[in-house]
Symmetry: C2
């Protein structure tokens, strides 16, 4: 059965019950109602487009649903917050199998269970390619949000989560490598952002925090610009901690979509697990990011339009 064989009401009746939808008021009315107990709400949105952000021959519907949730809850965690609700827009061609949509919803549900999230609303639309628009809401529990702009010279730079795994998995898919390591393919298809590290970093007194979605170098560069500082990274610490099995540092430094957290902490702060030091913050210099004391001359990560 294909999407075009059902009307919107019938399609919603099939997929909404597959997902956890508890909220003050969930799907079914003109809008949802979500608790915002401290009088503020964190909000972030992402678009995923078939052929750009995923391929249906490389990822199942469930993989796409998982990833759409994971990358948005990671953005919420990167403010130091916990996700309080998701809104999911899904555009699809009329000839898409309904089974794919049900699988997508199952992936959303699995990620919701893993990350402690619920779906409060959404929208369906026809489109010529599959596209997913997710908005995540979050609760800071009274804490101040941790911005990108608070890093100061002398602070340590640390990463929670793994780097380069998603890019390595994508590379294996692109090259069609047989018997590719399943854990690298899984890292691309179903990233596991270390969500609890976000609120933990906020509690510990992190001065800056962000999601590493476009590669460590590119995102550290953004943090450096926002904070008016430079960041010195050490490949020994970055590489030593995460990917002994990959020789080339480039995927670790530039690969996106692992949704690790990049945090800066004032001196003397005990880093919450699983943060590990990867560098330090220095006065703003000619380059926003230095790798082992030098400017990086390779590619710097993902950009939607320039590659």
């Amino acid at each position: 059965m294909r999407v075009g064989d059902l009307d919107e009401t019938e399609l919603l009746a099939r997929v909404v019950p597959l997902m956890p939808t508890e909220a003050l008021l969930g799907p079914g009315d003109d809008a949802a109602l979500v608790a915002a107990p401290d009088g503020r709400v964190v909000a972030t949105t992402d678009l995923l487009v078939e052929g750009r952000d995923f391929r249906r021959d490389w990822s199942t519907g469930a993989d796409v649903g998982w990833k759409a949730v994971a990358q948005n809850v990671a953005d919420v965690a990167a403010m130091g917050a916990r996700c309080s609700g998701l809104l999911i827009g899904l555009g699809m061609p009329a000839d898409l199998e309904v089974a794919w949509v049900e699988d997508f919803a199952a992936g959303v549900a699995a990620a919701c269970e893993r990350f402690g999230a619920v779906v409060v609303g959404g929208d369906l639309s026809a489109a010529s390619e599959v596209l997913v628009a997710v908005t995540a809401l979050g609760d800071l529990a009274g804490r101040a949000p941790v911005l990108r702009s608070g890093a100061r010279p002398g602070h340590v730079v640390a990463v929670a989560g793994r780097l380069g795994r998603s890019a390595a998995g994508l590379d294996l898919l692109q090259r069609g490598v047989p018997d590719a390591p399943p854990e690298l393919l899984a890292a691309h298809r179903r990233p596991e952002p270390p969500l609890a590290a976000g609120p933990a970093a906020a509690e510990a007194g992190a001065s800056a925090l962000m999601d590493v979605s476009d590669g460590l170098l590119r995102d550290a560069g953004r943090l450096a610009v926002a904070s008016g500082v430079s960041v010195e990274l050490s490949t020994r610490t970055v590489l030593g901690e995460w990917i002994d099995d990959l020789g080339d540092p480039a995927p670790v430094l530039t690969g996106g979509e692992d949704h690790a957290l990049l945090g800066c902490f004032p001196p003397g702060v005990e880093l919450p697990a699983p943060f590990a030091v990867v560098g330090r913050v220095v006065e703003r210099g000619e380059h926003g990011v230095l790798v082992d004391g030098r400017a990086w001359t390779g590619s710097t990560g993902w950009d939607h339009f320039s590659r």
Copy 2:
């Protein structure tokens, strides 16, 4: 200049400053922070896809930006709330003119000014067609949300705003009518939902409220199902009030996208302007909606997949 000539940072630097972005924390970090003063937040999302929801030869970028905002703030109003923030995802082909994106942002800004909204976040992505994903957040100011499910037999049914104008404008564009009435084309391109009527209905004690996005009959049918009632509409009141200049009742009863508000009120409630009575709520019968005492046998409005 085309979108593909710029990287994401450059494109954001061009369009973000065109829009009002005041919030506790607006665009630029991993997520926004929006005030939710009564401890709850209303949230709704919509996808607009080129070729389905708009055509670039019939609507300017500014028209598309306006409409994307209008239909989402209408959903917030339909809960009885006021918009507290918008998140806007924009997908586009690399060969799209940057001027179109700037025009889109100007249309978003114009609608924000008209409707009292601000943009707090968003996302850009490459796509093979232009697509817009808007999430609107809203504040109920301590009121209970007005749902679709509260209508009871004996309540009056009323509409605020005009009906059938957007569909009439779309029909003129589809038929290529020269010298079409500009106000009908404008109704299609830049709908003007009667936003203030939402909170006013909530204050007045409306028992049910919803946005008329897919046509009065279809949306009244949804309200009837949600409330477990039937709705009797009178074409004399519906037509007499709004479109003396259109003879056929079908566009008024089935045309979508005007984003009028459909409300039900207990007997004796003084209707807030501009609500006007169009019918009454009765015990649930064989048909969810009756028109002049009979079941409607024509088409019932917009469905994304079945037409």
